[in-house]
Symmetry: C2
Subunit: 357 residues, 2 copies
């Protein structure tokens, strides 16, 4: 079988040129005589790989010098606990926009009080709630938000003004898809497996003054200080996933950086949303102004037709478009690495399917 | 540069045939139309990969049915905290054989009392201390041991009789190198990056009755129950490293399983130790009966000669044989994937170096 168009919500499509580079280097990286998978993390050659990965990420995200970049194992779900273990003294604010904020909330509640400033649960998380400035607690240790909600296909179009309270942002499903001003955040985290690389590494970008606040009861591996002081090399990091992330960062650079990829993402999402807005069969499930650039859920309103569409799409190499069980219907995840041609092929097939009915 | 003989202590050499298989599949796995790195962990094709990996490991280790196998992120260092968070109520016993037991001890002390039953610190951890049965605490929650000590090149040749207290074993540097009876242990853990695959995944083998003992204050991701109930799929696991581990397990099978590879390991280590015992220039640093099959430290007794040897070895494609800074001299890590030819080449060069002086 040839390569398919893979609309998976994550792990997800990767740039073909990156996979080709991995293929070319996997037996023997450069002059090293070994695979990246075989390299001591303490070797000069691997140090240059992780340094290059960090430097490329700093470059494309414009990360200020007073932020550390950490490459950690354990997945973004581990961050739901690690963040309060490091930053929460008493109380945090949170906006509730779906499954991931719910999970983050559950972990934070082990360590203190969680104040929900706003929620979109009333309408199945199909919109982004208003964040009135007055709802923030001035004494919150931080405010937790999920910039893009993979399951529901919503995203924040603005970063709220929290009046000085640090913002912690879960960017797992839209990091590097559009330009963000890192200095607006205290901490940004994201699992790699959507827009960065293979599963198994989580990027944490943290302002330096937030490091070193954990109590003595926090295990060494759960303390940001441990990893910040050792350049993510306190223990053996996920060396191969980090290397692949570096290749993806360089690929983004080659497309004009994040501004370049954002333009392509807007074009891709625009194509799909335009068609949905004009279709008599398919419709989007999200309030228009809150639509994600990355995850596009849509339905026909008839579960049998949805199932038939998903099945027929599979025969056209349009794979993994079944919606999350909590939303139903279809979802096309069109991350950075999904080529424009993939979205075109999907829209063409949707048209064909609609016309044939 | 051609592929070298890589004596790194970890991450370390991998079987060339496994790397070739990865290379062949990295753009497109089987009929899937995508890389393993791009697969949803919820897809049928990935489920079959992780199921196959687990099943191969159960097969080659003879893991009884009442043990769960977990594939976790975060590295073995995370286990130093996760184990007491799940299994320690009040007190544990531990044998102190080097840096890794020290780190495990430091984490366990956050959660209760640590009783050191024996230590080899007095002689720089160059031997394995006697474990008199009387030294174990009958009321210990478990006994923690490190079966093989990567830095010092020592290993336990016997698993002690703890009179019913569960044994927790850190097998990071010798899992799958020799036959162990899993039923003797309550929990076995090992980072992948020495004998299993790429860094970023840690295998935990845990007897079922030890799962579900964590308190409510333990974060979801640090609770074995979370991962055991979801087949290591509560969150996105390190999908690609797990896949590569599966290929390594199949490679071990093809060599006659663990008994087969143990025989090869004994042959490789024997060659090197025989030479060390007869050399007038080089000598091993470990008490003979406690020598590791995996990590062989040796010295000339003269730091300048050591440095010259390491440098010249590098020109012969014998790489990463510098000893750990705490031992000095040289260390040849000869894990499962180090070919017999690699050890032969090293011994030949040692002879040549010795003769030329």
């Amino acid at each position: 079988m040839n390569r398919v168009y893979n609309f998976s919500a994550g792990p997800s499509v990767m740039p073909e040129s990156v996979l080709e580079k991995v293929q070319g280097e996997v037996m023997n990286y450069g002059d090293s005589g070994m695979s990246v998978m075989e390299m001591s993390h303490r070797s000069a050659v691997y140090q240059s790989i992780i340094d290059g990965t960090e430097s490329s990420l700093r470059d494309i995200m414009g990360i200020p010098d007073n932020y550390k970049v950490l490459f950690l194992g354990g997945g973004a779900s581990t961050q739901f606990a690690m963040i309060p273990m490091n930053l929460m003294k008493k109380k945090i604010d949170m906006v509730h926009t779906g499954v991931w904020s719910k999970k983050a909330m559950a972990e934070a509640k082990r360590f203190g009080e969680v104040n929900v400033v706003a929620s979109s649960e009333d309408k199945g998380f199909t919109y982004i709630p208003e964040l009135d400035n007055n709802t923030f607690s001035p004494d919150a240790d931080y405010f937790h938000m999920t910039t893009n909600n993979t399951i529901y296909g919503t995203k924040f179009t603005q970063i709220p003004d929290t009046k000085g309270v640090d913002i912690v942002a879960d960017m797992s499903s839209n990091i590097l898809s559009e330009v963000y001003d890192v200095s607006k955040f205290g901490l940004i985290f994201a699992g790699a497996q959507k827009n960065m690389g293979p599963a198994g590494v989580t990027v944490v970008i943290i302002r330096e003054d937030l490091i070193g606040k954990a109590g003595d009861d926090v295990p060494t591996m759960m303390n940001y200080k441990t990893h910040a002081e050792k350049g993510s090399m306190f223990n053996t990091p996920p060396t191969f996933p980090i290397y692949v992330c570096g290749l993806v960062f360089d690929w983004i650079k080659s497309l004009g950086g994040v501004p370049g990829i954002q333009k392509i993402n807007e074009e891709k999402a625009g194509m799909l949303y335009d068609y949905l807005d004009n279709s008599k069969l398919f419709s989007g499930t999200v309030r228009k102004q809150d639509r994600s650039l990355m995850n596009v859920p849509f339905v026909t309103g008839d579960a049998d037709i949805d199932a038939q569409f998903i099945k027929e799409a599979g025969t056209k190499s349009l794979i993994n478009i079944k919606g999350h069980r909590s939303v139903g219907g279809m979802r096309a995840s069109i991350y950075n690495a999904m080529p424009v041609e993939g979205v075109k092929a999907l829209v063409d097939f949707m048209k064909e399917f609609e016309t044939s009915r």
